[in-house]
Amino acid sequence: MTDTTKAPIRLSMSVIGPVLGLLALIVAGALLNPNFLGWDNIVNVLARSAFIGIIAVGMTFVITAGGLDLSVGSMAAFIAGLMILVMNSALPALGVGIPVVLLGMAVALAGGLLAGLLNGLIITRLGIEAFIVTLGSMGIYRSLVTWLADGGTLSLDFSLRSFYQPVYYSGILGISWPILVFALVVVLGEIVMRATAFGRHCAAIGSNDQVAKYSSVRVARVRLMTYAGLGLLVGVATIMYVPRLGSASAATGVLWELEAIAAVIIGGTVLKGGFGRVWGTVIGVLILSLISNILNLTDFVSPYLNGAIQGAIIILAVVLQRESKAGT
């Protein structure tokens, strides 16, 4: 009864935190450079946020259910490499056209799903810490892509790339496909998290997996599904990524996992699980993208300090939330 007044305040403050951070960045950007709010720049930022964003939506579920996946960056690089290899080798048989692109997409989705299932199975069936399992698979995928590329870069056949390119660059009504797909993934993700039994079960497991078990929740299956879903979304992100530059190398997707995790946490999802929100993750992704965008658009600080500014803003965003949570 003493907490009746506390609950609503807590909620609204933790909601306001990240939104406020995003608004502050937008205002700062608009003041520092008039092109910041230009249509082109907005589209650029949203499109480049899409890869991390799509992955981060999947990561929100994994973290909410009390897990973690460090392998997504390497996984994306590996799937991109695999996709390019398959498409290049199928090219003579299929020719440039929709079938070969569909084949590539199928490879990406199947590869992602399999990779995610593999992580999830090892974690749930063998009961090994997610941190260790995905740290291991991170190394495996990273070195597999280096091996596939023979230490260099895998490049999509030039003519095929030109054909596939519109998937990144064009879209409907001037909004490119990555943004549309990102938006779709976010809307679906938000609905699943908020309004389905699966989302509720994720939060319950992350909150206390014993309680979930004793409440007849199929804990292992839900956990497995979060990793498989994340893998699938990595595949979706890769489908959007490959047409951009048409290449994959050992340098592809480096540190994406940390960016995705950072975005999830900035958005207000609890790192140790139990509470997650997809829309918050979107805000987290946008905050991260906008910081580097603004730093590029201005000569405000030495580029050597870009990392420091990013780090400081990430910590600040989370501190703001924590303080509002602790407030009262």
């Binding site: 009864m1 003493t2 907490d3 009746t4 007044t5 609950a7 609503p8 609905i191 309004a195 389905t196 039994a197 509720r200 079960h201 939060a203 319950a204 909150s207 206390n208 014993q210 309680v211 979930a212 078990k213 004793y214 409440s215 007849s216 929740v217 199929r218 139990g274 509470f275």
Partner: protein, 505 residues
């Protein structure tokens, strides 16, 4: 009150508000050195708040705290501890992975130069534990200790600080009868050494046994205070509840029907062997035995919560259950004894908790939150759950949590319900309600198992009683044969009169 000694710690006209809500209304209490003071009242009566104010966890909103007759305002818990006041929480405040010794000296380690002075600490710990008549090795990890030993470690920790006032929040709630006896002996020793002891308990027989002084609270106010000898158990219950307590247990009026559950040769590795039992619709089967006798583990294995093997028939059909959701799908649910870490999500609201176990009922692709709200309304009405609807479940009182856990499990509509410690740590009024619910479920034709450490509960509630010892069923008692004495004999393995089938192991 006319005692010959001056009180060491007093509350004078203390009130406490949280936001606009006043939860303590001008209470007085005085603790005397060398006396045991019991504080009783229903859940939510304000006992915890009062103890926290005495131990410096919270300041009073108005009124005075007086130490040795002089008003004092504790700046922190640390200051109160430094003044010799220690509060032992119901949930142990121990680092599970550290040893007994490390826990006792945590934060006040003895040093010799830059190094820990381990020999000195060990000697002091032995001394303290010996004084408490506790035979736990100082190097044992706390995680491996029984609840009563953990309680002793908490007390040793308090004694290390030269505690003059020891405040204990329901110290016996998680203890067995034997463990309780040990604890009460220690309390007497402390009293003899001149310590002022305050404790709360829902077990009125204990209160009658050990308390010198008694304070009874209801709805944030003291309704009675005086010598404990001046009040009998019936009087205490009446004062706490504020109305005449009728019979605690409802009449056993249901008639057993078809066989619902039949278990033969159930083995639970490390916990129980060769368990066989039958359970009929409309029946309440009591399961008694000491803590550690394998009661909980047996029924957890039955519901797929831990590995086990054996033949299980539900309503005549042989089934194989490896996961709790399979048990639930077959109409059997287990209500855990541990509502805080296994039963409820303390960080979530009532609605999420209520529907977690039967979420499929509300799943129409998306969750039908309106149906959930209706279910919550229904549960609140059916089970008399009190508390703000938006509050986190962790902030509800123990009794309301237990009712919610009950409602949650019943939402899954099980035919067979296994209830482990249905009334642990809840007040007598709520207990009576819980007994009513359980009996009503039996009357509806459901089959019920009640596992309990409280013998009166088992006897008062159950149609038949199974007694377990060392992982085996050592006997079955029914009707007038189910007496405390008979249960204790079977539980302790001292069969005196009736020749039992039990083997010497």
């Amino acid at each position: 009150m006319g005692h010959d000694l001056a009180p060491v710690l007093e509350l004078r006209q203390v009130s406490r508000s949280f936001g606009p809500i006043e939860v303590l209304h001008g209470v007085d209490i005085a603790l005397q050195p060398g006396r045991v003071h019991a504080l009783i009242g229903e859940n939510g009566a304000g006992k915890s708040t009062m103890m926290k104010i005495m131990a410096g966890y919270q300041p009073p909103s108005s009124g005075q705290v007086a130490l040795d007759g002089k008003p004092i305002a504790f700046a922190s818990i640390g200051e109160a501890e430094a003044r010799g006041i220690s509060l032992i929480h119901q949930e142990f405040n121990l680092a599970e992975q550290l040893t007994v010794e490390e826990n006792i000296f945590l934060g006040r380690e003895l040093h010799r130069g830059p190094f820990l002075d381990k020999p000195a600490m060990r000697a002091r710990v032995r001394e303290l534990l010996a004084a408490l008549d506790c035979r736990v090795p100082p190097e044992r990890r706390v995680a491996q200790l029984s609840n009563s030993d953990k309680q002793m470690v908490e007390i040793a920790k308090a004694l290390l600080r030269d505690t003059r006032v020891l405040i204990m929040d329901e110290p016996t709630a998680v203890l067995t009868r034997a463990e309780t006896a040990v604890l009460l002996r220690q309390v007497r020793a402390l009293r003899a050494a001149g310590t002022a002891v305050l404790f709360t308990s829902h077990k009125l027989d204990e209160v009658a046994e050990i308390a010198d002084d008694l304070t009874i609270m209801r709805d944030g106010a003291v309704v009675w205070t005086g010598l404990a000898a001046g009040m009998d158990e019936h009087g205490m219950a009446t004062a706490m509840v504020g109305r005449e307590m009728s019979d605690l247990f409802p009449p056993k009026d249901s008639t057993p029907g078809e066989i619902a559950l039949e278990v033969t040769g159930l083995n639970v590795p490390g916990h129980a062997r060769d368990i066989g039992l039958t359970l009929r619709r409309g029946e309440v089967l009591g399961v008694a035995g000491l803590i550690g006798s394998g009661r909980t583990e047996t029924f957890e294995a039955l519901c797929g919560l831990r590995p086990g093997s054996g033949r299980v028939r539900l309503f005549g059909r042989e089934v194989r259950i490896n996961h709790p959701w399979q048990a639930q799908a077959l109409g059997m649910c287990y209500l855990t004894e541990d509502r805080k870490t296994r039963g409820l999500l303390l960080q979530k609201g009532m609605r999420e908790n209520l529907t977690l176990q039967a979420l499929a009922k509300f799943d129409r692709g998306l969750i039908d939150t309106r149906a959930e709200d209706r279910a919550l309304d229904q549960a609140i009405a059916d089970f008399d759950i009190r508390g703000h609807r938006g509050a986190l479940v962790g902030n509800l009182s123990g009794g309301n949590q237990q009712k919610l856990l009950f409602a949650k499990t019943l939402l899954a509509d099980p035919e067979i319900i296994i209830i482990d410690e249905p009334t642990r740590g809840i007040d007598i009024g709520t207990k009576q309600q819980m007994y009513g619910f359980i009996r009503r479920l039996a009357a509806q034709g459901r089959a019920i198992v009640v596992i309990s450490s409280e013998m009166q509960e088992v006897i008062g509630l159950a149609d038949r009683v199974l007694v377990m010892r060392h992982g085996r069923i050592t006997g079955e008692l029914a009707g007038s044969d189910a007496t405390e004495e008979a249960i204790v004999r079977l539980a302790m393995g001292v069969a005196v009169s009736a020749p039992q089938q039990e083997s010497a192991t």
